[in-house]
Structure formats: C-alpha cells, structure tokens
C-alpha cells in the first residue's frame, strides 16, 4: 500500500490542499504554512523597502533637488534602513525558509512549540503594523540606528511607534529562536547525531543563539528610549546626568551580533547549495559547523568597532579592533571550505547555484572591505562615507539577500510543488549580479574619496570632487537594473505557481531529508519515516530522465 503512495505523491493531499479557506491559514499550527505566510509578508516588506531605496537613488542621480525635499529624503533613507533591517533581513531566512525546512530536515512533524511559532508570526505582523503607523503619522528621520539625542529630542517623526514596533519584532525573533533551539535539541530522530545534521540547521542553530542572547538587550534599550522620548526620564540625557553614549553601547551590543543573525543563515544556505550543485560531499563539515558557533560567540565581543569615533578610549578601540579581526577567521574558514568543495566537483550552474556562487564572490568583497573599517587608522578616514554604505550592502544585500534568493529558488519546488523556468532564472541572476555591482562598486570609490553618507545633496562638494556626480549616476543607474531583475524574478516565480511543471520529489539531487518527501510535503511532512544518512552523500542518488527526479539506488 505504501509503495503506491510513494509512486504517486501528487494524488495525495499535501499541506497546501489538505484544508482550505483563509481561517485554515490564519489559525494553522503547521510550520510549513507559517513559513509560507512569513515568506509572503517578508517579501512584501522587501518590496516596500526597495521602493524607498529607489526613491533615495533617484534623488541622488543628479546634484541639487531632483524629486524630493530634504526632510522627505531623511524619511526615505531612514525608512529604507529600518524596514529592510527589521522586517526583511533579520526575520528573512530563519522565519520564512527556516520555519519551512528545519523540521523537515530533522525528520520531525513540526517545531517543538507550534503555538509559539504562530504567535511569533502574529507578533511580526503586530510589529509591522507599527511601522505602517510610522509611515502614516510623520515618518522617521533619525536613521535606523535611533541615536540619541536625535531620536529623543528632534523632529516630528514617530520614533515611539517605530521603537515599539521594533520591540515587538524582537519578541517575534526571540520566539522563533527558542523554537529552533528546542526543536534541534529534542526533535531529531535517534539516528541523527549532531554531526549528521545539515549545515543549514547548524547555521540556524547558531543564529538562534545570537537572537536569544542579543535581542533582549535591544528590547530593554528600545524600552528606555521610548520612555525617554515620551516622559523625558533622562537615561540618555546628559542634562540629567544621563549618558548618550551608553545608548550606542547598548544598541551595538545587539546590532553588531545582529549582522550575524543576518549572515549566518545565508552561509548555511550556501553550504547546502555549493555541495549539492557540485555533486560532491561538503568539504570540512565540522569546520563549517563549528565556525558558525564561533562566529555567534565572537560576534558579541566586537560592538565597539561602530564607536571608534564616538569618544571611547583609545585602549577600548584597540581591543575592539583586534577582536574584530578575529571574527574574520571563522568567516574565512567557511569561504575556504566552500572553495574546496567546488574544487574538482562536477558543477552544474542551475539557478540556485548561480546565486550560491554569487554569494561567495560578493561576500568576499564585503568581508575584505570590512578589514579597512576594522583598522583604526583607515576607519577614521572612512567613517560615515559611502565606503561603509557599499561595505554593508555587499554583506547584507550582496550576501544575505542573495543567499535568501538562492534558498527561495532551491526550495521553491518543495514549497510550491512547481518548477520555475531555469533559463529565466539564470538570466535574472546575471542581470542582478551586474546591477548590484553597478550600484555599489562605485560607492566604494566615491566613499574612499570622501563622499559622506546620508547627504541629501552633493552639489557644493562638486568643485573639489567632480567625480562624485559620476559615482552617484552610475549607482542610481545600477539600482534600476536591480529593480528590473527583481520584477523579472517576481514574474517567472508567480508564473510558475500557475503554469509551472509539477515538481518531482528531488529535482536538484539533494541528500537531505527534505528531498525524501513529496513536493509539496504532506501535512505530517512524511508518509513513511525518512531514512537518516549523511546529508552530503550523493553516491546513492541517480538522475532519472523519465521523471526528471533524482532517485535513490541501492
């Protein structure tokens, strides 16, 4: 009987069709449906943040006023940063893709606390509502970092609403982290030891540790900031013996580790994809696994590198600088292991792999330019210039967002049960690669020559630096290429849902447990218990051209 079920997975009910109606989604406890709702919400905010980015780039395409006034510009870049950080990059990979695949990768029926999982989604929506309120009532012009005293004294902007929103989003993030750690510890099958877990699970586990340890500190900081702005309780107000620099310490104690909340899951996806599309066992499994944990722990000791010019002591700056360099070691370990995995592999350049390779390349640039910012002497020159804008866009967008897109393409057949057009996918990847570098590489050049970040206008700088105009012009043009690429991507992915070829069980030949169940999976994830093995052993998988599926041979 079960043989028949295995042979015709499409006839069986799956998680998308088992129950119907809006309520069956809103009150679901199924991690897959929650992941899908997260994915849709997060992509909607990515669109919103992207529109803000295009507004900023369009304003800067020419000197002088182009399309908006100064105050509007301040709102635009602040909201771009806040929406992208809090509503897209931080929740992105763990809450959307992690929620969907983590339990399946562990052969579990669900996460450990399904109700908490649904609660985290509702808190995400609740926090997002506050950001919508910000948009409607006055906007936000403090920069996404909410530095005091700007955030406590100036402007008409809705700092309190934004801060409350970020506070709620923090709890959403904590709930997801608690769920993932408990799931990894207690829901694995007996046969799956720690070192039989896929590296994406390791990455999510390390991410969850950071979310747990860092987010509460942001929570209390934002709470104090809101009280400060509402009531003037004076914690960060020097006229009441408060300390404004303490805010920066608190903020970066969270927000530096937060960059690893952003990047670690992306590294996890890359580890999966590089191995699968090289048809070769991942090189240095344990090094990649341990380096995730090392990054998570080292990441807590380096926040002061955001404050080299904020008046901390020279000794503190030197210590933070040295510790910052130490974080580059586990990151480099990962890169070398990916390159070794590629070496002599039989590489197939399907769409997910294009993005996986793009990740390695762009992360390399983003990481190496970080060295100039970690060194005290060069950082003082580069602080608050476009160099740092380019640096963190190479790591956040060029790495995390690209890895997110890689993961969406890699698991799209599993999530939706449909195949997208690989040709369109590859072409879009190329366009995105060109557009991304077109946008951000010129910013390294302008920034190193002194173009300050966050400036509304650069007309008065042009006599001394005529090249600034060219840099901005190139950058804005590139941003339109990026936008075009994302529109195309949305197009072929949506088309695939309606008209795509039904996805086989294992279209890319992955060896993880998620490829042993049907696409899309049934509500219980597996109709028969999956066979736990090495998640990177491809020797038993053969491509079957009749079904376009990889099948297991004895």
């Amino acid at each position: 009987m079960s043989e028949v079920a295995v042979e015709s997975p499409r006839s069986a009910e799956n998680y998308l069709t088992a129950r119907r109606g809006v309520m069956s989604w809103l009150f679901t406890l199924d991690h897959k449906r929650i992941g899908v709702m997260y994915l849709a919400s997060i992509l909607a905010f990515f669109l919103l943040g992207g529109v803000f980015a295009l507004m900023v780039r369009t304003e800067l395409i020419a000197p002088g006023r182009t399309i908006m006034g100064r105050d509007m510009y301040n709102h635009m870049f602040t909201l771009h940063g806040a929406v992208m950080v809090f509503l897209f990059i931080i929740p992105g990979i763990p809450a959307a893709l992690g929620n969907f695949v983590l339990p399946i990768m562990l052969g579990a029926k669900d996460v450990a606390f399904p109700r908490l999982n649904l609660a985290s989604l509702y808190m995400f929506w609740g926090g997002a509502v506050f950001f919508v309120v910000v948009l409607i009532t006055g906007g936000l012009e403090t920069g996404w970092t909410f530095y005091t005293p700007y955030s406590t004294t100036t402007g008409q902007s809705s700092v309190v609403a934004a801060v409350v929103g970020a506070f709620i989003l923090g709890f959403s993030s904590i709930f997801t982290a608690v769920n993932f750690i408990a799931t990894v510890h207690t829901m694995r099958p007996a046969a799956m030891g720690w070192f039989k877990m896929p590296l994406f699970v390791w990455a999510l586990y390390a991410t969850a540790i950071i979310q747990l340890l860092a987010t509460p500190v942001l929570g209390i900081t934002l709470l104090l900031l809101a009280l400060e702005r509402l009531f003037g309780i004076g914690f960060f107000d020097p006229s009441l013996n408060g300390d404004p620099v303490l805010f920066q310490h608190f903020f970066w104690f969270y927000s530096h580790p937060a960059v690893y909340i952003m990047i670690l899951p992306g590294m996890g996806i890359t580890s999966e994809i590089i191995s699968v599309f090289s048809r070769k066992h991942i090189f240095g499994y344990r090094f990649i696994a341990y380096s995730s944990i090392a990054i998570a722990l080292f990441g807590f000791l380096v926040w002061g590198h955001h404050m080299f010019v904020s008046g901390q002591t020279r000794l503190a700056s030197m210590i933070f600088s040295a510790l910052t360099f130490s974080v580059s070691i586990p990151s480099a370990i990962k890169v070398f292991n990916w390159l070794s995995t590629l070496y002599k592999g039989s590489i197939s350049l399907e769409t997910p792999m294009c993005y996986g390779l793009m990740f390695i390349f762009l992360f390399g640039i983003g990481g190496l330019t970080g060295l100039f910012l970690g060194s005290l002497s060069t950082d003082v020159h580069l602080t608050d210039t476009y160099f740092i804008v380019a640096h963190f866009h190479y790591t956040m967008m060029g790495s995390t967002a690209i890895a997110f897109i890689a993961g969406i393409h890699y698991w799209w057949p599993k999530i939706t049960g449909k195949m997208y057009s690989d040709a369109w996918g590859k072409f879009t990847a190329l366009l995105l690669f060109v557009g991304f570098n077109h946008t951000f590489f010129p910013q390294f050049v302008s920034g190193s020559r002194g173009m300050p970040r966050r400036y509304y206008d650069y007309e008065k700088l042009l006599p001394a630096h005529p090249d600034f105009h060219g840099g901005h012009w190139l950058s804005s043009l590139g941003s339109y290429l990026v936008a075009a690429a994302f529109i195309m991507m949305a197009g072929y992915l949506l088309v695939s849902i309606v008209a795509g070829r039904p996805a086989p069980r294992n279209p890319y030949g992955g060896a993880g447990l998620e490829w042993q169940t049907s696409s899309p999976p049934p509500v219980e994830n597996f109709t028969t218990p999956p066979v736990v093995g090495d998640p990177y052993d491809y020797s038993k998988l053969r491509f079957d051209p009749r079904s376009n599926d990889y099948v297991r041979v004895a």
């Binding site: 669900d110 904590i174 829901m187 500190v217 929570g219 003037g232 013996n241 408060g242």
Partner: protein, 272 residues
Amino acid sequence: MFASPNAVIIAMTEADQATHDNHAPFLAHHFDSPRQQFAAGKLGMWLFLLTEILLFGGLFCAYSVYRANHPEMFQDGHLFLDRYLGAVNTCVLIFSSLTMALAVSAAQTDRRRLLVGSLIVTLLCGVGFMGVKFVEYKAKWDHGLVPGQERIAWFVALGWLRKDSPAPERGYQPDADYVRKHLAEHGEEVDDAEATRRAAGLFPFFGCYFGMTALHGLHVLAGMGAITWVLVRSIKGHFGPLYFGPVDFVGLYWHLVDLIWIYLFPLLYLIH
C-alpha cells in the same frame, strides 16, 4: 516531601512504553512521548529565562555605569528607600518560592490538595509583594521623586489628546523641601540651594530604581497571571505524574523573578 527527579523520569519512561497503545493525556500530536514533550518544554523555558536575564542585564549594566560615574548620588538616593519594607518583600518572595517548589512536587506526586493550596499561597505572596510595592511607589510619587513624573501624569490624564494642554517640559525637579528635611533626618543639615542641587542629582538613582523595580513588578504580575492559569488547571485535575510540565515551567519562571529581586534589594536598598 519532594519526589526524586530520577523517580519521576523513570515513571515517565514507563509511560513512554504505554503511549504506543493508549495516548497519554495532553500529549501534543507532534511529540512521540510525554518525556520528549517535557524535555522540549523545559529547554524552551530555560531559554526564555535566559532572555529574561539579558533583558534585566541591560538595566544592571546601566546601573553599574551610573553608579560608577556618580557614587555620591546613589549614596544619597538610597536614603529615600525604606529598607524595612524592602526586607519584608524579600522575605515574602523567598517564602513564595518555597511554596512554589512545594506545588511542583505536589503535582509530580499527584497530591492535588497540596498543589492547589501551595499555588494559592504563592499567589497571595505575589499580591502582598505588589501591595508593599504600591505603598512605596505612592510615597515616591507624592514627593515628586519619579523621573518624568509631570509628563507621565500628563500622559495618563490623556493630555496628549487635547489641543489645549501642551506637554510639560522635560526635567527632574523633586520636592527640594522634602529632600532637605529627609537629609536632616539622616543627620545632614543642608541649605535650600544645596538641597535643590542634591534633589536634582537624585535622577540616576531613581532612574535605575524605577526602571528596575517597575520591570520586575511587571514580571511579578505576569507570574501571578501564569500561576492563576496553572491554579485553574490544577483545580480541574489536569496534572499528575505523567503531565506536570506547566507547573514546573511556571515554577522556574517564578524562581527567576524571585532571584532577580534578591539582587535588586541589596543593590538599591543597602548601599554604603
């Protein structure tokens, strides 16, 4: 009186074998056994407690910074707290931790009357603690010692909804006369100008005091809510040797709230 943890785990392991035939009560569908469910819940609770410690950690860190920068202001500030009330509250919370532990043990060993009774006593201790806290807060409010007091009053009175009531200025002006008298009670005679200066300097201390104790008070209230929930379920007879997770987890939470107070009391009330 307390069931040994090993005996409990053995009982749960035996229950694991039994579940293959008949489903254990309150076993969620995605767990294989009551033991797995309990292990997941317990780990989840510890992780949550970790985040609570870090949430308070930010305030403890701010406390250290401000106390290191302004030791004399903390010296002044603690004179305004009643250490006897603080000590009473400490004893109340420690006692409530004992009754909470009794409740957990009673749930594991299926003694429902002891369970319900212990939970009620724990809850009453929470009420007592909040009552004392209210008396303390009221006194501080009456003397204008709360940071941002005028704005809080304006905010609570919904002044921000009315066009004719602008927000009060930011600032910190405790009642200088009260401060002068209070310092005199502690054997320090100061003139009015000095009293005003010392009163304004009380801010970092009372910022920390209200930040820390208010957050702690909110946690006590949340804990009381959780205890009420467990109490209702205990009366319904939901708990027993096979299923006592919620009592255990709420107990852990309550102990943490207690523990944080044990640090707050000396840091705020007993400064030398």
